[in-house]
Structures are given as C-alpha cells and as structure tokens.
C-alpha cells in the first residue's frame, strides 16, 4: 500500500500522536501557523494556549517532572522561540525531558534577517541536549522520533526542533516508524559487574557510610530500589534539593537535605563520612560548599548515567556509569548475597548522627513584627495536603522552607528549579503538573517576587479548567536576596522592597489580581485563619485559588553555610554554629 502523503504540518501532528504525546503547551504565530491548523483537528492531542511562551516551557517541565513523561511546548519563530529560552535552560540544568518545537522562517529566507527570524538552534546550543533544524517535510517524522528518544533516554534533557515554515507547508509521504539514525548516541544503562563488586566491598568496609541521593533517583524511577538498598545496609540517607521525595521523609534513616540550607545532621553526615554512596547527584556547589574541604575523609562511589558527571567535581574511587534502576538492582543482589541478612556495624556512626538530630532539629522562631511565620504557613500546607499532593515552588526563601518543612513521601511530588533557580517557575509548573495528574491536589508555593514573573498563566488555568492552588508567601520583598543583604551587606536593602505587603503600597493587591483572573482570592494575616484558608482552597475546584499569606519579612532560612565556605561552617541560626561534643570543631 502506498504511504499517505501529508503536509509537513500534518506530519508534525501525526508524529507527535504516534509518539504518545497527549498534551502540548504553546502559543501560535506566523512561522508555526501551518502546524496549528491540523493541530486543531487532533483528537489525541490537547493543546493548551498559554499567555507567555516561558509559561509554556515551565508548564511542560512541570508536566514532565510530575509524571516522568516527556513535556512538550511549541512556539513561533523569533520572539516566540526566545521566550522559551529560560525554560529550556532550566530543563537543561535539572535534566527534565522536554521537547521544544519552534517555527522558523522559510528555509529560503534563513540567514537574511527575515521578519521574526532568530537563530534559535544557535541560541540554545549550549542549553539543549541536542537540537535540529528541519528544512524538508520528509525529515519531520525521523527528526521528531529522534528528538523524543534523545530527550527521554540516558540523562534526560531538553531537545529543540526548529522547523522552517516551508517544511511545514511542503508535502511528503508519511513513513512510520521512521528511520532513527543516531550513531553517536548510545547511552550506557547497564553497569560494569566488576564495579558493582568493588562498590559492595567498600560498603561492607565503611564505618561512616552515607547515601547521598540526588535527582537521578527520581528520573530513573529507582526509589524502591533505593529503599531496598537503604534497608540492606542501614546507612543514613540525605536527599538533595532535587531528590526531595526520592526517599520517604518519614523513614528514620532520612536525615533530610544536605547543602547550603540543609539540616545540620545531613550536612555533617556528608562532612564526616568515610564513604559517600552517591546516587544520581552531581556534587553541586550548593551541596559541597568549598570543594577542597568537602567530606575530606570519604571515599566515593559515584553512580550516574552521564559519564561526564563522574570525576567532574570530585574523584570517584568507584565510578559506575549506568541507569540507577539497573545499577541498584544489581548492587542490592550483590549485597544481599554477601551480607546474608547481616548489616554492616555502624552503630557508633548512628549514635553520633542521632545526637545531632536531637540537638539540631529544624526549627524557626516567630517573626518579631507579629506577622505570620512563613515556615508555619508552609508546614500547614504540607500537613493538610498530605503526601499525595504535588508542590511546585518558586525560587527563594519560600522554596527552601518548602523543601525543609513539607514532608515528602514519594518521588515527583516536589517540583522546583534547582540548578538554574528560575524565578517564575512555580505557577506554570504547577499548571503543567495539574494537567499531567488532574486527580492530584497541586500547590504552587510562590514568593511575591516570583509570582509577579509568570502569574499571567492563571488566565490559562481559569479558562482551561486547571484548578491549581497558589500560596503566595508574601514578605513584600525579594526575600532571599534581602537575607543576604542582612547577613553580608550590613542590612543595606538595595532594591529588594516589592511593596506588596499590607503596610506598604500593596501594588498589586494579589487578592484583586486573583479575582481579575477568575480565581478565588483569599488574604490571610492571622495564624488562626491559616488552616481554614488552606481547607477552603482544597475544597474549591471550580477555579484556581490564590492565597495571599502576609508573612514577616525578617524571617530567614536556617541552617546556612555561607557561599564559598566550608560545610564545617554550617550555622544553625544566626551566628550560632553547632558545638561538637568531641571538641573536634575544625
């Protein structure tokens, strides 16, 4: 039978359908118009019209991070494409499987500074896993299939497909499945047997092991294998900002988050360890602090699917390249066989860590200005919503408190921008998450600064019946920056006042803004109103909800390791460093 002849535009829609794409976030314009026409007729793909392409990008990220599936966004050439750049960069840093499709001017006009021409392949080269420029209709199925394969396998990441308008308008036989020819792309998923044995050996010998768990566990869906490993060896677990939820917070072996704003037990466990069992974590500077003084006494087992991560920052005594699910399955079998139900004796290590846990639990003090305490508000959102909910944070203090004070029990329940720290991530990411998982309660926990960067997507949410809940932790300032000004710039507050508070100009009034967008807007100023507002938000599902929590502006994120310093300098509260009982303070 002869193959059907389709326009390039029809081939785009058909290929995406056949690749299993069901939801796309985007906004049309000239160079992508041919594709928007057949998209209108697709019964398999829901297109959600955003208000800004950055929102489409973050929505696709939130969709992907909540579900583990590919996220897809689409935009026109030139400014449409450049508006996607921030989200693409964000996905690159956090290993999010993202497909970004952009229209391009006619192939015959490329290079002439044609109307709305931008070299988006060139612009995004450093921030994509790969990119394609398509100038012929017949190349479309093969390129899209390759793009999806690259985005979703190995170390996931963003792939950009830029499609010239004449390729969309051209005609070609539609051949499926297309030939995917990527001779230079062969991700290694299966670990080396010898390395598994070497890792098991180090684990059995370690006196102070720590499972240093990163976002790779979430991307690999290896949380159950991780749990099994943790139970076999009984070692403490720390979960990076990207790995919150990869290991249950309720598990007594979980010491919390390490790093700049990590718990004292987690930071110290890494610092004093003799073996870091590093699983899909990349020794980020927010975690290591000053690298040369980081965990100096530790040997390192480093598992990552990306060989370039191993040895990049820290030498690995046992490097293991592979997919964590496969690696841990093999490692668990090896250890179970070796240990035969016994556990390495690390009682002394636990004694030390448990003591730290009792002495330095996470906590906070009530704001002196009588306003709400942001940590209290965030704790209550977590407690009332429960572990099945999804929480998408913005960037700043509220993000850190959300990582610290919400208890995560499952992977993909915590979404945030870790590597890039992109303000504006939260509202569109929550929207995307709600589209991917409509049955779940989805919170955007946002700052008053971040919220003002992308809140226009509330219109998208209202119109498309995507009832997310937004909690604005309103401290009327760029809080995280203000905290640094307090600590390191003599409390000189240069350009960090936002005037969104009750005792300021209050521009904008977030409740009125919410109402203008067709959302339920609620303002909360007193502790006794907090629970009722959260419950009302949870019960309201006919429209999005925005709660404006007016919180104290002087609250700070603690603990803290000041940037560039050694983790040994972790401060439990301002000017308060842990006291080591053994008098070992370095």
């Amino acid at each position: 039978m002869a193959n059907e002849v389709l326009t390039g535009a029809q081939a785009i829609v058909r290929s995406l359908e056949l690749l299993g794409v069901t939801d796309i976030f985007g906004l049309p314009g000239g160079a992508i118009l041919p594709t928007y026409d057949p998209l209108m007729d697709s019964t398999k793909i829901r297109h959600i019209l955003v208000r800004h392409e950055q929102g489409a990008g973050h929505a696709a990220e939130g969709y992907a991070s909540a579900s583990g599936k590919l996220g897809v966004c689409i935009a026109t050439s030139g400014p449409g494409a450049t508006n996607l750049v921030t989200a693409i960069a964000d996905a690159h840093m956090d290993s999010v499987p993202l497909l970004a499709i952009t229209g391009q001017v006619n192939s015959t006009s490329i290079g002439t500074d044609a109307f709305q021409e931008a070299d988006i392949v060139g612009i995004t080269m450093p921030i994509t896993k790969h990119s394609f420029l398509v100038t012929k209709a017949e190349d479309i199925p093969g390129v899209l299939a390759s793009a999806v394969l690259i985005a979703t396998t190995g170390r996931p990441g963003p792939v950009l497909v830029d499609i010239a308008k004449d390729a969309q308008n051209g005609k070609a036989e539609f051949v499926w499945p297309p030939r995917v020819d990527l001779p230079g792309y062969k991700p290694v998923t299966k670990p080396h047997g010898k390395q598994i044995q070497a890792a098991a050996q180090l684990i059995k010998e370690a006196k102070r092991p720590v499972l240093y768990v990163g976002g790779g566990i979430v991307r690999s869906r290896a949380n159950l294998e991780l749990l099994e490993l943790a139970k076999i060896i009984g070692a403490p677990v720390v979960t990076t900002l990207m790995a919150r939820g990869a290991f249950p917070d309720s598990d007594p072996q979980n010491l919390g988050m390490p790093g700049m704003h990590g718990t004292v037990p987690a930071v110290t466990a890494l610092q004093r360890s003799d073996l870091l069992i590093t699983l899909g974590a990349r020794f980020d500077d927010r975690v290591t602090g000053q690298v040369k003084t980081f965990a100096v006494g530790a040997k390192v087992i480093h598992v990552d699917i990306d060989p370039a991560e191993i040895g990049k920052i820290r030498f690995a005594d046992v490097p293991i390249v592979g997919d964590l699910k496969e690696v841990l399955t093999e490692l668990n079998a090896e250890l179970a066989n070796d240990l035969k139900g016994t556990k390495p004796d690390i009682a002394e290590w636990w004694g030390f860590l448990n003591d730290l846990r009792t002495r330095y639990p996470l906590g906070y003090t009530e704001p002196e200005d009588g306003k709400l305490s942001p940590q209290f508000v965030i704790s209550r959102i977590g407690e009332l919503s429960g572990p099945e909910a999804i929480f998408a944070a913005g960037v700043g203090q509220h993000q850190m408190w959300s990582a610290q004070f919400i208890k995560y029990e499952r992977p993909n329940s915590w979404l945030n921008s870790g590597g890039a720290g992109t303000m504006g991530y939260s509202v569109p990411a929550a929207m995307g998450a709600k589209v991917a998982q409509p049955e779940r309660l989805v919170w955007a926990i946002d700052g008053d600064g971040c919220f003002q960067m992308t809140n226009q997507e509330l219109a998208t949410c209202t119109i498309n019946n995507i009832p997310i809940k937004v909690a604005i932790i309103n401290n009327s300032s760029l809080g995280m920056v203000r905290q640094w000004q307090t600590l390191f710039y003599n409390s000189r507050y240069s350009n960090t006042d936002l005037n969104t508070g009750t005792d300021t100009m209050m521009v904008p009034d977030f409740v009125k803004l919410a109402e203008a967008y067709g959302c339920l807007g609620i303002r909360v100023e007193k502790e006794e109103e907090v629970d009722a507002a959260i419950k009302l938000a949870m019960e309201t599902n006919d429209r999005p909800v925005v709660i404006d929590f007016i919180v104290g502006r002087d609250a700070m994120v603690w603990p803290m390791v000041p940037a560039g310093l050694s983790n040994d300098a972790v401060q439990f509260a301002r000017d308060e460093r842990p006291v080591w009982e053994d008098g070992e303070e370095e």
């Binding site: 392949v121 080269m125 896993k129 420029l133 060989p307 370039a308 040895g311």
Partner: protein, 169 residues
Amino acid sequence: MSQHVLSLLVEDRPGLLTRVAGLFARRGFNIESLAVGTTEVEGLSRITVVVSVDGLPLEQVTKQLNKLINVIKVVELEPETTVERDHMLIKVKTDAATRSQVLEAVTLFRARVIDVASDALIIEVTGETAKCQAFIKVLEPFGIKELVQSGVLAIGRGSKSITEKVLKQ
C-alpha cells in the same frame, strides 16, 4: 600546561563545528589548532584538535565531546604511535641577492617552491610542528610577508583504522 591531540569522528551535519567549538569555549578548554575534513566514508568527517588543558583533566574534555550527539568517536592520539603533520604556505620576500639563500633553506627542509615572483617566493612545507617552526625561524630574517597553515593533521600508525572500527560496531 599539557597538549593533547584528539581525533574526532563526527557526522557531517550543519552546525557541527559550532557545537564542537562552542563546547570548548563554554567549558574553558583551549583549542591550539583545529583541522576539519571529510573522510573516506561518506557522511563522516574527522576533526583533529590540539587542545591544551590547564588544571582540568583531559577526561572531562573527551567526556563532554562524547555527549555531543553528532560526535561518534573521540580518540586521544598518543605521540609515540601517531604520525602528525602541519602544512604551511609561506610568502617570503626575496631579491636577487637573497633568493639563492632561501632556496638553499628550502632544499634543506625538503620544502617546495610553488610560486615565483620577482620579489617573493611562495613556499610549501609539511612536517611535524617542530620542523615547520624551525623552518619559519630560518626564513624570518628574509622577511615573511604572509603565512597560512592548516591545523595539525594526525593519524595513528599501523593498519588500525578508527572509522573501520566504529563502522564494525
């Protein structure tokens, strides 16, 4: 500062050179020389890069290059088992008095004259970098008006072939 010669087998795709060069710039690796050309296999090109790494392990460079989707294979060529050649075209000022001295140097270095004008010669020389540099030193006193050179070209000694090996896989 140590120098290494990397041989990259790559798919011949638009923008490939930008991807490779961009990666070097972005990751702070210095390119000393670069030579690009097609190979005996259609659709495949070879890039020979001389890279100097300072403090950074070469391993990071090769791993990052390997992550580029269109890069099929990266091989570090060790000096002992590699043939390396530079190729230069040099325009030297000459007159009746100096021409014979220049021609003597040409013979000595087994270079070739490829164009003659009344006041200049164009000389072609190939060889290892050290030899070419020495030749330039000799010519300098006469006045070098123009010099162009390829990047280093390098190939492993013996019968083994990177392309054959890769295509077999």
